[in-house]
């Protein structure tokens, strides 16, 4: 079995340091997007960045203990505030741009977006 098969995208793009770099790029994008910024406003920016880093770690297949149940519970209050497919798509778009800006090869970006897509039903509590 080749490395590309056994290693997660998380490992292939550089693990924790890559996540630390990606989270700043990603956070700036969502905070500057008026369609979704209100979901990411947080008095504690470090806590918000940590959450996003955990999200990026999860969708790249890194060490994460988030389950579908956690995803549902964690977004239930946002769904009540109107979180829908349009917002999900906007976040996925910023995720794609972030990875592309950091030079992640297209096949790996596609893999990450597929993992993110698989969380759609849980995030939107459907």
């Amino acid at each position: 079995m080749s490395d590309a098969v056994t290693k997660s995208v998380y490992e292939q793009i550089g693990g924790e340091p890559a996540m630390a770099a990606a989270v700043e790029v990603f956070y700036r994008k969502v905070l500057a997007d008026d369609r979704i910024s209100h979901f990411f406003e947080d008095v504690d920016m470090e806590r918000q960045a940590a959450k996003q880093k955990a999200f990026l770690t999860m969708v790249t297949g890194g060490p994460s203990s988030y389950s579908g149940k956690d995803m549902r519970a964690g977004h239930a209050h946002l769904v009540k505030q109107g979180l829908n497919d349009m917002h999900f798509d906007a976040v996925a778009g910023h995720l794609k741009e972030t990875l592309e800006e950091l030079g992640v090869p297209a096949p790996l970006v596609a893999k990450v977006l597929a993992i993110a897509e698989s969380a759609r039903a849980d995030v939107l509590n459907r």
Binding site: E16, P17, M19, A20, E24, Y27, R28, L31, A32, V43, M45, E46, R47, A49, A50, K51, K53, A54, T57, G62, P63, S64, S65, Y66
Partner: protein
């Protein structure tokens, strides 16, 4: 076998087990969430022994400098020991050595502790009166100065500031608890531009940090913005102007919302900062004072390219909501 000491008990760790897993398994309560080194909920402080580098990945250098690490990613080599603790402060006896006004509504309180207080310029302490009344204030002094300096804003009806302004006398016994906070200068990268911005007594920690950085030989540009509503709210202007004259890399910018002069810029603090420092990518910044202003500046600086790791914010939150007081009376009490 590796082992961990917590609150005077030793806990053995199984091979490959993290400090968090080992403590939780043996009934010690430690806050935690992601358990993947990302959320930082399980932050602990090492008080003895060596912390593996992996347990510090992603932490701010100010936290690392104080011995903090993540329990979930902390796996100890076989046969080693680590003593850990939370962030509980200890009260130390102190006495007021001097009280002098810095402006109409800011009082300088000088304190001497019986034993030297181990702190970083810019951190804060709790000042505790003999009857237990406690308030948090930033340290404006440098550790080498011996005497501790606090800038206390006089608040109408304020219990601690009222006592300090009218009843307390030099020689009065008090206690200090702390220090705490990660708003301080860490030596390294002496050429990196620094941005310090504060409102009101938010100048106190910045006054310590800027002098600490200069004494550490910081050579890159240092911008210090002190904002107030009117010129009467500014203080230490002569001292800071003198400091800037002796250190050409320091740019001191006092600013107000109304009543600006030739020497004092007029306008919103964020607008003045953006005009002088339009692209702070790769800079280090400290923001202190009014919580709303600190939060808004923090977001603006982050969006303009400053990394969160290099952004140190210290919001001066009111200690207790005062009945009948407007938010502007209580905000920035420290």
């Amino acid at each position: 076998m590796a082992k961990v000491k917590h609150e005077s008990s030793w806990y053995p760790l199984e091979p490959g087990e993290s400090v968090l897993e080992g403590l939780l398994r043996q009934g010690v309560s430690v806050p935690n969430s992601c358990r993947a080194g990302a959320c930082q909920s399980c932050l602990m402080k090492a008080v003895g022994g060596a912390v593996p580098e992996a347990a510090r990945v992603g932490l701010k250098d100010t936290l690392v400098a104080q011995g903090y690490f993540l329990a979930c990613t902390c796996r100890l080599p076989e046969g080693t020991e680590l003593e850990v603790a939370g962030a509980e402060g200890l009260r130390v006896p102190a006495r007021i050595s001097a009280l002098s006004p810095l402006s109409r509504d800011v009082l300088k309180v000088s304190l001497v502790t019986d034993a030297p207080l181990d702190y970083r310029a810019g951190q804060y302490v709790s000042l505790v009166r003999e009857d237990g009344l406690a308030r948090s204030y930033s340290l404006a002094s440098l550790p080498r100065e011996g005497v501790l300096e606090l800038h206390v804003r006089l608040i109408t009806g304020g219990a601690m500031s009222g006592w300090l302004a009218s009843e307390a006398r030099p020689g009065a016994r008090v206690f200090l608890q702390g220090p705490a906070g990660s708003c301080f200068y860490v030596p390294g990268r002496p050429e990196q531009p620094l941005l310090l911005a504060g409102t009101g007594t938010g100048l106190a920690p910045l006054y310590g940090i800027v002098r600490d950085a200069l004494e550490a030989g910081h050579s890159g540009p240092i911008w210090l913005f002190h904002g107030a509503r009117t010129p009467a709210g500014l203080y230490l202007r002569e001292e800071l102007r003198g400091l800037a004259e002796r250190h050409p890399q320091l740019h001191y910018r006092p600013c107000v919302l109304e009543g600006g002069t030739r020497d004092i810029a007029e306008g919103p603090l964020d607008v003045l900062i953006r005009a002088e420092c339009p692209k702070p990518v790769g800079w280090r910044a400290w923001l202190c004072g009014d919580p709303q202003l600190v939060l808004s500046l923090r977001k603006k600086l982050f969006l303009s390219g400053l990394s969160l790791k290099d952004l140190h914010a210290d919001s001066f939150l009111p200690s207790v909501p005062q009945a009948g007081a407007s938010p502007t009376d209580t905000a920035g009490a420290r």
